[in-house]
Amino acid sequence: MSSAITVVAGGAGLDRLLAHVATPGTAVIAPRSVVPGAFVPGATMVAADVESRTPGCSCCAVRLDLIAAVERAVLRRERPGHVVVAVDLDEPAAADVVTVVYTLLSDPDLARLVRLDGVVVAVDPVALATRRAVGLPVLRRAEIEALAVADRVLVGRADALTPHVAHDVDALLHAVAPYAYVLAPARVPVGRADLFGIDAWHGVPHHHQPSTVRSSLGLELPDTVVLRHQGALDPDAADLFFDRLVTGNAPRILRFQGVVVGRGSVGRTCCHGVRSYAMSHPAAEDGDPGPDNLVVVTGWGLDVDELVDDFREATA
């Protein structure tokens, strides 16, 4: 039985968050930039070692250090029920959450040991508001990409903001994090069950965007495309759609996820992917019924019209 694994990303204060989630039965893998020992006892320390399966290709980059660290964390006498992989967004060499997620999903050795449960990103809204006020970029690219694939955004110090600034930060986060529930512990208590055991990478994807979102807010942001169709799809055409989605957009895709129904098949098929990795399997039928077919794609510079046309061909 595989252990659930959650990616937790953040900047300053990440060590305190990790100490909070490092309960018995939870293994923590943390970079050396996060203070060990005092705040995260027993954590497995890692130093980012990134390598691409095809030299020079960004869409197949993996974290070799994580593969070894996850094996060490899981292959124990008492196997952890949950593993947390910490990403320090302030450490440039290791702030790439998408590469971490790609590694966890695509590596065959890790696929035997762990199952991705979710991505949690902690943000400091006071820092965001301050950057905006002084004219600095509100979010760095690593932060944008982390939020773009996040399932939960933890907003710390929300009570330190004026209502007007809090509203602006809220709007920013909802625009940047299409798959995430935004949680502010200062306003509403957040429990462990809100962050772990969410199984967010399988089944109908949670999303809160309109049909298409273009870059806005003065920031260059990834595009999110939402594709819906009621009624079964031609299975060969659906396969072709996903093939073209991945092969044509691998370096740009940050995350895609969806459920589809093929003509003649029983039940829906769940699909998800990151960059050049894609996976599908029968969907559990105890989730949100929703539309028959729903695919959400987030990536940089997507040709939205082409994606919509390709999907329409699969529905014909």
């Binding site: 320390m45 399966r53 030299p55 020079g56 292959l75 124990r76 065959p108 050795d109 035997r112």
Partner: protein, 329 residues
């Protein structure tokens, strides 16, 4: 006078349980055993001889001579055990011993301990951040790093061979073989000649990276490579290089997680389901012995004389076997 059996026989000598999953097992030249578990407990020679934890996250243990053990811990660096416990610092990604010499890969350097020297020597890897090392002799070491593969004489601090291989991952070497084998993240195994006048080769077709390699020395050497649940055996000769096609065996029912080759060429492999298989170079297409240990195999090691092998598992099980290689298989 005892004679070798026709078929390989294996007897279990003892089985014990450590506090946590096994991380590393090694034998000294004189036949002493060390095993370290995930809790940092070090077992020396016998089940009842155990240390208190020496570190929170050990990754490898090995002997320096017959009296001192070095343990590489991912959190606190290299620790010396024997006559007390001494932290030597330097966080290592890998640690391997050849008997009289121990080499650790620390960032883009090799840190060298010698049994007959007080001082620790540091030499440049010549291939970037070190990922794996393998001894050829006590002073000549093959190194796989982020930039490629090198063969470094750690006594002279000189490189005999430096080859650029993007994504080099693991390396295997043998004093009786004229090649070093290295795998990369793309799934290619590179044969790098040690002598002049011989061409290297790239062995590809693997669907994913090859994480484990071993050499069986002989008149014609064989390179053993692990891919998921399969073993591939490549015949390699100095004159002809690598054979066009390997012998491929679906060796286990689940992914192979450990591999070791002894001096006589016997190969032991372990898998994610707890299966252990013994392979003879005389009969590469089927195991000569098998056992089921019930937990993922995490470490295997042969004694220097090939008489014994020890297998460790993720549940803390540690089993020592006496092996009698057969004359037929």
């Amino acid at each position: 006078m005892s004679t070798a059996p026709l078929l390989t026989e294996v007897d279990s000598e003892w089985r014990t349980e450590l506090a946590d999953g096994l991380r590393s097992i090694a034998w000294s030249p004189g036949g002493r055993l060390v095993a370290v578990d995930a809790a940092g407990v070090v077992l020396i020679d016998r089940p009842e001889q155990r240390s208190t934890p020496v570190g929170p996250d050990p990754i490898a243990a090995t002997w320096l001579g017959d009296r001192r053990v070095l343990v590489a811990d991912a959190a606190i660096g290299v620790v010396s055990v024997g006559g007390g416990c001494e932290r030597l610092g330097r966080v290592a990604s890998c640690l391997v011993g050849s008997g009289r010499t121990v080499v650790a890969g620390c960032a883009d350097e090799l840190v060298v301990w010698r049994v007959d020297a007080r001082d620790v020597v540091t030499v440049e890897s010549r291939c970037g951040r070190v990922r794996a090392i393998a001894p050829i002799t006590s002073t000549l070491w093959a190194v796989a790093g982020a930039d490629g593969v090198s063969v470094v004489d750690v006594a002279l601090d000189a490189a005999d061979v430096v080859v650029e291989i993007p994504g080099a991952l693991t390396v295997a070497a043998h004093p009786g073989v004229d090649f070093v084998a290295a795998s990369d993240v793309s799934g290619t195994v590179h044969l790098i000649p040690l002598g002049g006048g011989v061409a290297g080769a790239e062995l590809d077709g693997y669907p994913d990276r090859v994480r484990r390699l071993g050499w069986v020395a002989g008149v014609t050497a064989q390179l053993v490579a692990v891919a998921d649940d399969e073993l591939t055996w490549w015949q390699v000769s100095e004159a002809a290089g690598a054979a066009d096609q390997p012998v491929t065996v679906v060796a286990h029912e689940s992914a192979i997680t450990a591999l070791a080759v002894d001096a006589s060429g016997m190969v032991v492999s372990g898998d994610a389901g707890g299966g252990v298989r013994l392979w003879s170079p005389l009969l590469p297409d089927r195991p000569v012995w098998a056992a089921e240990l019930g937990a993922p195999v995490t470490a295997v090691a042969w004694s220097r004389d090939g008489d014994r092998m020890v297998v460790g598992c993720g549940d803390g099980s540690l089993v020592r076997f006496r092996v009698f290689p057969g004359s037929i298989a």
